[in-house]
Amino acid sequence: MTDHASILDERLMLSPSVSLRPEPFGALAYHFGNRRLTFLKRPELVEVVSALDGRRTVREVLEGCGIPEGQWSAYDATIERLRGADMLQVATLAAVSG
């Protein structure tokens, strides 16, 4: 397994500095810290991102949202980019239990 695929095994959650706003096409995500605005263009992606709770792995969330396994690599890349922009973070114990 490559490093690239391993993000599916991580427990991610929305960064505490990020706010999601639903829109007809999907959602806007705004990061108050770095003032970056990101557009989530597919409702399915919004569902996945909203479901990332830091308790389940990305893989479990994708399964839970009914995303066909054939599409996981695309989600993998997108989620990696969202983490790179600090929109998503690896969950810390305190954040999850809080």
Partner: protein, 396 residues
């Protein structure tokens, strides 16, 4: 209302509008200690109907509920309002980030330290010349020094990444590299915007808007430096030269952009303060969310722009006919070319002796307003200012 397509590009989605604006400007007051020649909002005197502190707080509450993540606060000079710093704190406490525009007159070292200590606040200092000789004739004597001092104070207080906001004009377009240096020396970012013939800008637009040749220079400069400067998507009409510029290249008026003025009137964009583009009032029409989501004007704007006279132009997909406000205030048809159409398609219409620019629907100017010094101004005093030689040669 036009039917929103599913899928497609983000820009296609934006054409149909959003549940809340992305880029909301809120002019807090029409009062200003300066009288800039090209002021978009014809500011000067305070409007006695200005929103009270409680009404302004209610606006912030509503923005929070709508998840308007940040608001651009301007004026007039917003820091003149006695409750400005309170409203700033109130917004931040309510998860509404603020970027405010100022001429710098109130940014003392103490204020700068306070701003630097507050998260979610961004500051934009206006400067329209990289030298006092170019800046002060437009913005007032001493305004260059004031702006530089404000930027210095912010930098020394440890504020990171202030914005230096420049309206690109015939007089300053040769100074773009200097502006960039002024910003970077102070850890700031340059922000360039287009001169609109809005507010008092309508009186000086003929003398101040960049020439056709300067537009090309500006376009080339933006292609070269565009990733490192901000433009507020200002120059999408230049995309007709060939390459798209960084940004959305879309007129966002009433779709992703709007303006709340000091008395609560809502306009389609900051450059369109005129009854024709007024969607409603937040006090009279059920609040900002209602105006944004339901007003007749915004509903009308949320459909793909019709090309009109531009449909047959090869560049229409790139520039989409340009800026609505620029067309309106120069008396051009809204579905035709931009007055600064780089293909020259508006040249004939601009020369039409019967062309009628609309009368202003409001003016808050105080008595004396600065005027740009024109190269052909015959008054030997000309406000006792100098325009550098390069500026004159570039404008001819």
């Amino acid at each position: 209302m036009a039917e929103r397509p599913t899928g497609g590009t983000l820009i296609q989605q934006f054409e149909y509008g959003l549940d809340a604006p992305i880029c909301l400007t809120w002019e807090l007051t029409y009062a200003c200690n300066l009288s800039c020649a090209h002021c978009l909002s014809s500011s000067g005197k305070r409007d006695p109907r200005e929103l009270t502190t409680a009404q302004a707080e209610a606006v912030i509450d509503e923005l929070q509920a709508m998840k308007v993540f940040y608001v651009n606060i301007g004026g007039g000079e917003p820091t003149i309002r006695p409750d400005f710093w309170h409203l700033l704190d109130y917004a931040v406490e309510h998860q509404v980030g603020v970027k405010f525009s100022t001429n710098g007159s109130q940014i003392t070292p103490e204020r700068a330290a306070r701003i630097a200590a507050t998260d979610y606040v961004d500051v934009q200092v206006s400067l329209d010349g990289a030298t006092a000789e170019v800046n002060d004739p437009l913005r007032g004597v001493g305004s260059y020094a004031t702006a530089i001092r404000a930027l210095d104070n912010l930098f020394e207080a440890g504020f990171k990444d202030a914005k230096v906001s420049v309206v690109v004009t015939r007089q300053n377009v040769h100074q773009l590299d200097d502006f960039k240096r002024i910003a970077s020396e102070r850890g700031a970012t340059l922000r360039l915007t287009r001169l609109r013939p809005s507010g008092r800008g309508v009186d000086v637009w003929d003398e101040m808007h960049p020439t056709a040749e300067q537009q090309r220079d500006l376009y080339n400069w933006l292609l070269r430096e565009g990733e490192k400067v901000l433009t507020g998507d200002s120059f999408f009409h230049l995309a007709a030269f060939g390459e798209p510029l960084p940004g959305l290249n879309l007129c966002g008026a009433g779709r992703v952009v709007c303006l709340i003025d000091p008395i609560g009137d809502v306009y389609a964009c900051p450059f369109a303060i005129h009854d024709r583009f007024k969607a409603g009032n937040i006090l009279d029409d059920g609040g900002f969310a209602t105006v944004w989501r339901e007003s007749e004007l915004f509903t009308e704007l949320r459909s793909p722009q019709s090309g009109g006279a531009c449909t047959s132009c090869s560049a229409f997909d790139a520039c989409r006919g340009g800026c609505l406000a620029a067309k309106f205030f120069t008396g051009l048809p809204l579905d035709g070319p931009d007055p600064e159409c780089v293909k020259g398609h508006s040249d004939l219409a601009l020369m039409d002796p019967d062309r009628l620019a609309p009368a202003a629907s409001q003016d808050h100017s105080r008595g004396s307003v600065h005027k740009p010094v024109s190269a052909c101004d015959e008054n030997p005093l000309s406000g006792l200012t100098f325009i550098p030689l390069e500026a004159l040669s570039a404008s001819r």
